[in-house]
Symmetry: C2
Subunit: 442 residues, 2 copies
């Protein structure tokens, strides 16, 4: 009987465990998880802060998975890749144990990065990562009147909206020229910024937070030359791979700081796999090393690592960076690099943006849909897309992702088959209209 040990039980670890279990009914599967509870759903936290999810505790699950030896409240302290053992400590009792493995999957995830600026450790400065973080922010909104959110990625945008829903004055600060800078070009981001303004969120782009001021509690932040009073500061400047355990074990990291893996998700150590936010993978368009750090990637990697640890041969090739977020009813999704990211990677991009109603003109309740398509000028293959509307947004970006994965040219994509009914869409698919618009520019 073989033994598979998995470190970490979020999307990647969970999927790896259940996948390995389904393949190998005999193997012993041990999962080491530091948290005192079984599972939680980090992507729900901004919506619990905003109140759409009425009770943040519902993000915690405490049902143990069947036929898996899940040890919560237990921390992996070190990995010995020679003797193939993991040293773990039960946090409550302090009891230490060395667990031998045949296969090991490192799924240690990521942590919210706090930049080393003055005042970062003041009371009232939060990140959005764990349920405890979410609870602390909800508690803080009961007294705070003014909040500053630093970093306008998906989590920063979602948290800004959530804090407005709690009645706070919200200032959202972003270092880059536009909100959602890894997802959207500036013209598309402008639509999001306008929606944020309408919601009462003030947006400051191209601005750096230089200092957080206060005595014990936060009193203000300094952005550029200006001091903004705030009782609550949320830092959402990104997450970093939790790779220290791997590094200390001599396992190779990549230039992004994530654990280096091949397409079978094998690390540099024999029989050691890695999956999820802690892993460095490949951006399939720019071909640069990248950190994906979304739950769907973690799940897809977990499947591959779980299969391979159980003796199969599955591959994970990389990511197109397919992401969705929202501002109230407005859904925003994208895949592939932005125009500026493509340029930086040496890809010559031709693009077009369209705006049209998402239902036929005669059908009540139509909302605008915005779609932008990015096409590589040479072979005319689609390399990215950005969609904003109130429905059918994530699904359309998934469609684009599948087209990109299949190497479709924009002229082929302009003629795809699709279905139509006035209650759900117009007779002309907006993505094909965007494709035709690009074709006119090629």
């Amino acid at each position: 009987m073989s033994r598979i040990v998995i470190i970490g039980y979020e999307s990647a670890g969970l999927t790896a465990a259940s996948t390995a279990r389904a393949i190998d009914r005999q193997a012993e599967i041990i999962v080491i998880e530091r948290r005192p509870y079984v599972l939680y759903h980090p992507c729900g936290i901004p919506f619990a802060i905003g109140g759409e999810i009425p009770d943040i505790k519902t993000l915690i699950e405490n049902t143990k998975p069947p036929n898996i030896d899940l040890r919560i409240g237990t921390e992996a302290k070190s990995i010995d890749t020679n003797s193939k053992t993991v040293e773990v400590t039960e946090l409550k009792s302090g009891k230490t144990e060395k667990i031998p493995y045949d296969s090991l999957i490192i799924a240690t995830g990521s942590y919210a990065f706090k930049p080393p600026i003055k005042g970062i450790d003041l009371k009232g400065v939060h990140v959005v990562r764990t349920v405890e973080d979410g609870e602390a922010i909800i508690e803080a909104t009961k007294k705070a009147k003014r909040a500053v959110v630093v970093g306008a990625g998906a989590i920063g945008v979602e948290t800004s909206v959530a804090l407005r829903r709690r009645g706070l004055d919200v200032l959202l600060v972003e270092l880059m020229p536009n909100v959602l800078p890894t997802m959207l070009d500036q013209d598309m981001a402008e639509i999001v910024t306008q929606r944020l303004h309408k919601e009462g969120v003030r947006v400051l782009c191209n601005q750096r937070l230089s200092e957080i001021r206060g005595d014990k509690n936060v009193r203000s932040v300094v952005v550029g030359e200006t001091e903004y009073p705030a009782e609550l500061v949320v830092m959402s400047v990104g997450v970093k791979p939790e790779a220290k355990l791997a590094k200390d074990a001599g396992i190779e990291l990549g230039p992004t700081g994530g654990i280096k893996v091949d397409r079978y998700l094998r690390t540099s150590a024999p029989q050691v796999y890695a999956a999820g936010d802690c892993v460095e993978t490949l951006n399939l368009i720019t071909e640069n090393p990248t950190l994906s750090q979304v739950a769907t990637t973690a799940i897809r990697m977990g499947k591959v690592a779980g299969k391979n640890a159980a003796g199969r041969k599955a591959t994970f090739n990389g990511t197109f960076n397919t992401v969705v977020t929202s501002v109230h009813e407005l859904i925003i999704a994208s895949t592939g690099p932005t125009t500026s990211a493509a340029k930086k990677a040496g890809i010559d991009v031709v693009s077009a943006r369209i705006r049209m109603p998402n239902k036929p003109p005669y059908y009540p309740g139509a909302e605008p849909i915005y779609a932008k398509l990015l096409v590589e000028a040479g072979e005319q293959k689609i390399v990215g897309g950005q969609v904003i509307s109130t429905e059918g947004v994530a699904e359309r970006v998934n469609l684009l992702t599948l087209a990109i994965q299949n190497g479709m040219r924009v002229d082929e994509f302009a003629n795809i088959e699709y279905c139509y009914m006035p209650a759900v869409c117009d007779a002309i698919e907006p993505l094909t209209v965007a494709a035709e618009a690009v074709l006119r520019r090629l």
Copy 2:
């Protein structure tokens, strides 16, 4: 200067005209249309009967397209493929004219079929095709209390729901074993039937309408051995290609009764193209001749015919039969053949059906999503899919269609990249869950 003549101005004719216009700024483009108004939207009619579209007149458009010689109220009487002329009559004046063409596009559409049964011409028996049909049905609902809808395809289902919304007792009769028989397998159709029952629509499958009874007005219908009283009967047993004009001109028809074309949409006559409901095309899965007869196919064919008539070389290869319909908030879509249609075509199909919530368990307002995937057993390529839920249904079926078009195997599809946010979907894409379920059966 060349002249392109187009007969018919619905989805195909409209798209052909505007496509040709965009390519060739010089050509004379003449469109012959029998109707006394410019354009109408047939797919909206059931929703106007149901009241979702408050005024059925909004389905009519009277803005003439720019730079196109659109002659409404004018009927094409005959085509002479030798002299390359179309004889047309202005219906009001009776004035007749022979119009020479360099290229001709036949886009005559289809008509609602009325089976030759006893009583079919009684007052109170309607079809759902034109705005006038819709107006007559709305008028009839003011007096009628009981309606029978014959044929449970998309139009029959939509019209049944619409008549219930108008307060009538509705009986829906279908010859085949289940509703939406060309779209759904019986297990998926059962979900629709239950929703119809909940709505108060009685459904009778496996039953043939044998007679409509009445004196001048409809009084009842006979289905099997039973007589059902009804003041309103809607026949929705299918549409037939309007191909008489082509046939009379010696243009070849196919076994389905549609105009035979090659992949450039060329008919058997030189420089004569055909597009839309009047055309026979290829079912790309079964490889049998088929009639597609949905607006999206007409638009896609119109684009190809318009390009080719203007001197380009575009192709239309056939259809996967991608269709969407609805019962109130429930959206139903499918692509590819049903299991029984696949069997009939000699395709050995393995399938699996899944049901899961369309949002994470902790997010309020989740609705079930049902997805069924059909995979050809040999090469394990996806050949069809059926999805039912309250949102993201049409878009998911479009995704499946793209996967089928790209010849994807089910194991490849199980690992596609997609995006996720709790407000719009769960972290695991239902279609990949369905794909995994099929894989377990292969």
